[in-house]
């Protein structure tokens, strides 16, 4: 029997019992759909987190108090207040540093005409806007003069403006209260969406000096007000490593520490990105693994059905052998049947998985939405795997069928 004929007669076998064939395929459909959608969601999450982090600014180096843990992740930042304005000033003179933006972070209750928002309040300097790659939707940013004068002014994040003023327009010039102190809104930041790590839209910015003196305060260290972190922008992305090294040396000198016992942590976007990529890869792998198990279950379903089918069709096998079918003809017929089941199931599963991914792309998780990406490699993997599963679990029943003695198969009722 040639290939076409073999496939045709396998199709006859598959379509002869439509309900059973569809139930068999369902296992594979669910397995493949699960692989496709879970992997694409994992990849989508990774892509959106990466994009958000990159949005924070380029060539960005974070200096935080506290020591380093493995993988460049800082332990509870701000736990030890060891960074001061003097450190920030010293860092500005390091070669290759374009700008330095120190910040002091705390919480603030922002109220306007009876509306309240509890949010993050950060004291910053004028450079913060460019270093963190932000832009204004309305008004202006905190100026050098504001910092010098400890002005009671505030720049609202777009989320806060939304909550209090129902939008970014109309906030500038209004008076709000932060922790009961009066502040004048001078600007509203443009929205950036979520970082997935706490939205930058949900914060308010005040002059650093104002934050230190009135709003947040904080400890003093060596006679100067502490900072919760210093953002450093390198002039050139090629020099990141050497700039980080320089910064570290300068801070060690100032803090009188040695490697291993530093009371600060210097990290950059790449470190963060690498860590997050590692985490999301693991997540994707984990999701894919769970999905693969369902694919395996689907494969066992195929084996089950094929075994039933071999038993049920013992007489058919006997008849075919009696009129001249060789072992390989029978083997081929049953293998093609399971391949057809798994391939068609795989194709439908792909479609379903893709639809699920599309649907997931429409769902909002808080202020975050994930754009699942269905990559060709996931598709190839899922379909290839389902075919392998189908053939693997089809082989045993097919061998059983092929090895039946004709006369015994014919006697079967």
């Amino acid at each position: 029997m040639n290939l076409t004929q073999g496939i045709l007669s396998a199709l006859e076998g598959v379509t002869a019992n439509k309900l059973r064939s569809s139930l068999t395929m369902l296992g594979i459909v669910i397995g493949v759909a699960a692989v496709i959608s879970l992997v694409s969601i994992g990849r989508g999450a990774q892509a959106s987190v990466t994009a958000q982090i990159e949005q924070n600014g380029t060539n960005l180096i974070y200096v935080r108090p506290g020591s380093t843990q493995q993988g460049g992740v800082a332990s509870a930042s701000g736990s030890a207040g060891t960074l001061t304005q003097d450190d920030a000033d010293a860092l500005l003179s390091v070669a290759g540093v374009a700008a330095v933006a120190p910040e002091l972070e705390g919480r603030g209750q922002v109220s306007y005409l009876g509306s309240n928002v509890n949010t993050r309040a950060i004291g910053v300097t004028p450079d913060y806007l460019t270093v963190r790659n932000m832009s204004l939707a309305d008004g202006e940013f905190i100026s050098e003069a504001n910092v010098n004068a400890r002005s009671s002014i505030v720049v609202l994040g777009s989320g806060v403006a939304d909550d209090l003023f129902g939008g970014t327009a109309g906030a500038v010039g209004q008076k709000v209260r932060i922790n009961s102190q009066p502040y004048t809104v001078v600007g509203v930041l443009a929205s950036k969406g979520s970082t997935g790590l706490g939205s930058v839209d949900d914060q308010v910015l005040v002059p650093l000096s104002t934050a230190q003196a009135r709003l947040i305060g904080g400890n003093r260290y060596r006679g100067a007000s502490v900072l919760s972190s210093i953002n450093v922008q390198a002039a050139n992305s090629d020099e990141m490593d050497s700039v980080i090294e320089q910064l570290t040396l300068v801070l060690r000198e100032r803090h009188d520490t040695i490697e291993g016992s530093d009371d600060f942590t210097v990290s950059n976007q790449q470190d963060l990105l690498a860590t997050i990529t590692e985490v999301t890869n693991t997540l994707t792998l984990f999701l894919g693994g769970i999905a693969a198990i369902s694919l395996l279950v689907g494969g066992i379903g195929i084996m089950n059905i094929m075994l039933v089918s071999v038993t049920e069709r013992t007489r058919e096998i006997g008849i075919r052998k009696a009129i001249g079918a060789r072992k390989r003809d029978i083997l081929f017929q049953f293998l093609v049947e399971s391949a057809v089941l798994s391939l068609v199931g795989g194709a439908i599963g792909n479609l379903v998985g893709w639809l699920i991914s599309l649907a997931m792309g429409q769902v909002q998780f808080g202020s975050t939405s994930i754009k699942p990406t269905v990559d060709i490699d996931a598709v190839v993997l899922a379909v290839g795997f389902s075919l392998v599963v189908g053939l693997f679990f089809g082989i045993y029943p097919a061998m059983r069928a092929a090895n039946l003695a004709p006369v015994e198969a014919l006697r079967y009722e």
């Binding site: 029997m1 040639n2 004929q5 007669s9 006859e12 076998g13 002869a16 007489r315 058919e316 006997g318 008849i319 075919r320 052998k321 009696a322 009129i323 001249g324 079918a325 060789r326 072992k327 390989r328 003809d329 003695a405 004709p406 006369v407 014919l410």
Partner: protein
């Protein structure tokens, strides 16, 4: 054409051995018509299955067209069944899912016939008088019609021998008579070697030679 020598067949069921054939020797020449008779359980079907290469004997020699069948592999036996032997069963043994025509086409598929399968199947069905039933499935045909399809299928690869194990056993006497007439005509017109099992002495009388099977042994005798 067929020469078997001292064929035995032993079935083993647990500790019990059943000797279905206990040393059978036979020669059947090309073009002969032979009927096999004997009481139930005497070993007729066992003998037919061995002759039809559906089963292999426990001991003994079987030469088909001068070729030793005993030493053949499974695939060689499949080819013999496909090309040299047509087998007609008491219970028709058609594939229920397929139409009459597809059933008749099957042996050609396994023989690797590339062209003209549909046409040849149609001709074979016309030859057995089923020209107007080609696209019916077995369940839509009467017993006699199903047996005609089975005969068309058995003949489609032009075998030299047609073996039939009680071909009329499941049919009423009239359609049984028609089927026997069809088989005998095949011998008259095409010289095909015909061996069949029957319980009906009247049918056996049509044949040149009657072989009696008793307790796994054969006794030749003219009716």
């Amino acid at each position: 054409m067929i020469a078997i020598e001292n064929i035995t067949k032993t079935y083993r069921m647990g500790a019990v051995e059943v000797q279905a054939l206990r040393g059978v020797s036979l020669k059947i020449e090309r073009g002969e018509v032979v009927s096999i008779m004997g009481p139930s359980g005497s070993g007729k079907s066992t003998l037919m299955n061995v002759l039809g290469c559906l089963d292999q004997s426990t001991t003994g020699r079987y030469l088909l067209d001068g070729v030793a069948v005993d030493s053949m592999t499974d695939d060689q036996l499949a080819e013999v069944r496909n090309r040299k032997i047509g087998f007609v069963f008491q219970s028709f043994n058609l594939l229920r899912r397929l139409t009459a025509r597809r059933n008749v086409e099957l042996p050609m598929l396994y023989a690797g016939v590339e062209n003209g399968r549909r046409r040849r199947a149609a001709e074979a069905l016309e030859a057995v008088g089923l020209g107007d039933r080609m696209d019916h499935r077995p369940t839509e045909l009467s017993g006699g019609q199903q047996q005609r399809v089975a005969i068309a299928r058995a003949l489609i690869n032009n075998p030299a021998i047609l073996l039939a194990d009680e071909p009329t056993g499941n049919l009423d006497s009239r359609s049984g008579e028609e089927i026997m007439q069809l088989l005998l005509n095949l011998n008259h017109e095409h010289g095909i070697t015909l061996v069949f099992v029957t319980h009906d002495p009247k049918i056996a009388q049509h044949t040149q030679r009657i072989i009696q099977v008793r307790d796994g042994l054969v006794e030749e005798g003219l009716a």
